[in-house]
């Protein structure tokens, strides 16, 4: 048992993540060709616009769709349907918590690939200043609110119907993920009405911004992701958890400096054991880069599954020193 535990804690997380992310990417982007269908309540960007290849559908698509029903229907029998959908979504989410972002999300994986490209080119990453970070961090809540209010407005006939899935319109996943199955049809501006024209133009601008942003900034889009905001609202009862033993922490900041999401609390907070913050993508890089025995750990249903250890840290860093080039 101890040997297994040591092997897990000493894992080369970078490689492990790369392969697991690739597996989920294939499952969610090409799963449709292998008759995989995980339903339409997935708490991750398994883009529904990827008609043929999708192995499941991102919950935000049916959610916006449902909320755009006329109020009479929505606040009648259909309300139950919305609740049921939300329940399925929550059940999926509870399994992996924000691990959906760090390990499953195809758009997140694409960003990690872009990051990998940048490091191969030897270009350094950018970071936000603390003030920028605090402000940008709020955008995802704003997007979440708009994503709910706009469809509701449509249901109440206050807004034009062709804005039915406003977030999908501007989500870069809609343009980028279908391209992986050879569908480039989302890269267009829709001139059929003023609303669609504005929304699709916005979508293409966001896509360009996404590609450039993800190149310079690790996990650029995740700061703004309304799914991440929705996750955080539900994250307390989830099974997979990130925990910190503040007493063991030396506040060396190693976890903070490797954090793609620039979460300072991971290094500075020493009182609260539930350390997961709203921006966290539960990639567990912080655990892998913590040199203090048991200071950070990931638990599943209360059982520790991955823990920071001195040996694991040294093993991973030694590998980094030895690697000629930066590899996955």
């Amino acid at each position: 048992m101890k040997r297994i535990r040591d092997a897990v804690n000493g894992v080369d997380l970078r490689r492990f993540r790369f392969w697991l992310q690739l597996f989920f990417f294939v499952l969610l982007v090409y799963g449709g060709y292998m008759a995989v269908n995980l339903g339409q309540y997935l708490p991750t960007f398994a883009c529904g616009f990827n008609d043929e290849g999708r192995g499941g559908i991102c919950y935000l698509l049916p959610l916006q769709h449902q909320l755009a029903m006329s109020w009479g229907t929505l606040f009648g029998w259909a309300g139950l349907m919305v609740l049921q959908g939300f329940l399925f979504f929550a059940l999926w989410f509870f399994v992996l918590n924000k691990g959906w972002c760090g390990y499953v999300c195809p758009l997140g994986t694409i960003q990690d690939w872009i990051t990998s490209l940048r490091t191969r080119l030897g270009i350094r990453y950018s970071r936000y200043t603390e003030g920028q970070f605090r402000r940008l961090s709020l955008i995802k809540y704003l997007l979440l609110a708009l994503m709910i209010l706009i469809p509701l407005g449509i249901g109440g006939a206050l807004l034009p119907h062709d804005m039915g899935t406003p977030f999908c319109d501007i989500c870069p996943g809609r343009m980028i993920i279908p391209m992986f199955t050879g569908d480039f049809s989302q890269l267009t501006i829709d001139f059929s009405s003023k609303t669609t024209m504005v929304m699709t133009a916005l979508g293409m601008l966001v896509t360009g911004l996404f590609l450039a942003g993800a190149f310079f900034k690790k996990r650029f889009f995740c700061f703004f992701c309304p799914m991440s905001a929705l996750h955080y609202l539900l994250s307390k009862p989830a099974l997979l958890k990130l925990k910190k033993d503040g007493a063991k922490c030396t506040r060396c900041g190693d976890c903070y400096r490797v954090c793609d999401m620039e979460i300072r609390e991971i290094a500075d907070e020493v009182k609260e054991p539930r350390i997961m913050q709203d921006d966290c993508i539960l990639c567990l890089k912080c655990v892998a880069h913590c040199p203090e025995q048991g200071a950070l750990k990931a638990t599943f249903a209360g059982i520790p599954i991955f823990e920071s250890t001195e040996q694991g840290f040294i093993k991973r860093m030694t590998k980094g020193h030895k690697d000629e080039q930066h590899h996955e």
């Binding site: 950018s126 890269l187 003023k194 699709t200 133009a201 601008l205 360009g208």
Partner: protein, 293 residues
């Protein structure tokens, strides 16, 4: 020709429906004329046999009546899938037997029922007792949400008592009266590429603008015989099937502008970050290292 009309309580995939106690009802009206452009509604019933084939393939005979002011039918659609309605009308005049078949294929689908059950329900259904029937063939990946647009080629199969009929004259009528006539091939198939006949001012353009078409098949037979209505020396079969199509995405979606905007945003951001980094190095004397070595 039967025709579904707007103005009922709810829009479903497959057109407007009425919902009573959770069950979907469809209204269809009969129109007579040379095409969708000038066909008129009927005030009273017309002699003939009305048949309804439901999703499970069960055939029911029923009758029409006055539906919201004109002659039409109203029927329940309890299950998901395609319902076929046939009106078969037969008359003999001057020794010429005339058999008219009006067919309509109606889809009942609500997204609430999910989409996993769709595939086995997609196949078109035919009724072998119908003298002359037109069947619209499905697209390879067609589902309940598939819309046809300009440029799409729709294939119809013409059946005589359930057997493919070669050489039948098939005409497609668009909403504005354009028509095109072809003859069925050896397998009884006739194909049409749908053409655009919707030219509104730009700001009034609607991508969900529904355009109706009617396709008719005509077949004549020299065989003589006798029915309860009298003797005849020749028979003329006319069959119709209605449907609808929509503006094609090609008409209103532009790759050029999309890629232009995307590339602009990409280049703008990239250059902005590059310049920002350069400027930071100069003004604040940031020390940065050369990664090339």
């Amino acid at each position: 020709m039967p025709h579904a009309e707007h103005g009922t309580s709810r829009h479903s995939h497959g057109g407007p429906v009425e919902i009573r106690r959770g069950v979907y009802y469809k209204n269809l009206w009969l129109r007579i004329g040379n095409g969708p452009a000038d066909a008129r509604y009927m005030d009273s019933a017309i002699a003939g046999k009305l048949l309804l084939v439901d999703v499970k393939g069960e055939v029911k005979e029923f009758s029409g009546g006055n539906v919201h002011g004109s002659y039409g039918v109203n029927f329940a659609m309890p299950d998901e899938g395609f319902y076929n309605i046939y009106l078969v009308n037969e008359s003999i005049r001057d020794g010429l037997r005339q058999i008219n078949v009006a067919k309509s294929e109606v889809l009942k689908h609500s997204c609430r029922e999910g989409h996993d059950h769709v595939k086995p329900l997609m196949a078109p259904r035919q009724l072998d007792t119908i003298p002359l029937e037109i069947v619209r063939e499905r697209f390879p990946a067609e589902n309940f949400h598939t819309l046809f647009g300009y440029g799409d080629t729709i294939t119809f199969l013409v059946l005589r008592q359930g057997v493919p009929l070669a050489g039948a004259e098939v005409t497609l009528h668009t909403g504005r009266g354009w028509r095109n006539t072809v003859h069925t091939d050896a397998e009884g198939r006739a194909s049409f590429m749908m053409i655009r006949d919707y030219y509104p001012p730009w700001h009034e353009f609607e991508r969900r603008h529904r355009q109706d078409y009617v396709v008719s098949a005509v077949y004549a037979s020299d065989a003589s015989g006798e029915t309860a209505a009298g003797r005849y020396t020749a028979t003329r079969y006319v069959s119709t099937l209605n449907g609808s199509y929509y503006p094609s995405e090609r008409d209103y979606r532009s790759y050029a502008y999309g890629l232009l905007l995307g590339t602009f945003a990409l280049a703008f951001t990239g250059i902005a970050v590059y310049l920002y980094r350069r400027r930071r190095q100069r003004r604040f004397h940031e020390v940065r290292f050369d990664e090339k070595n």
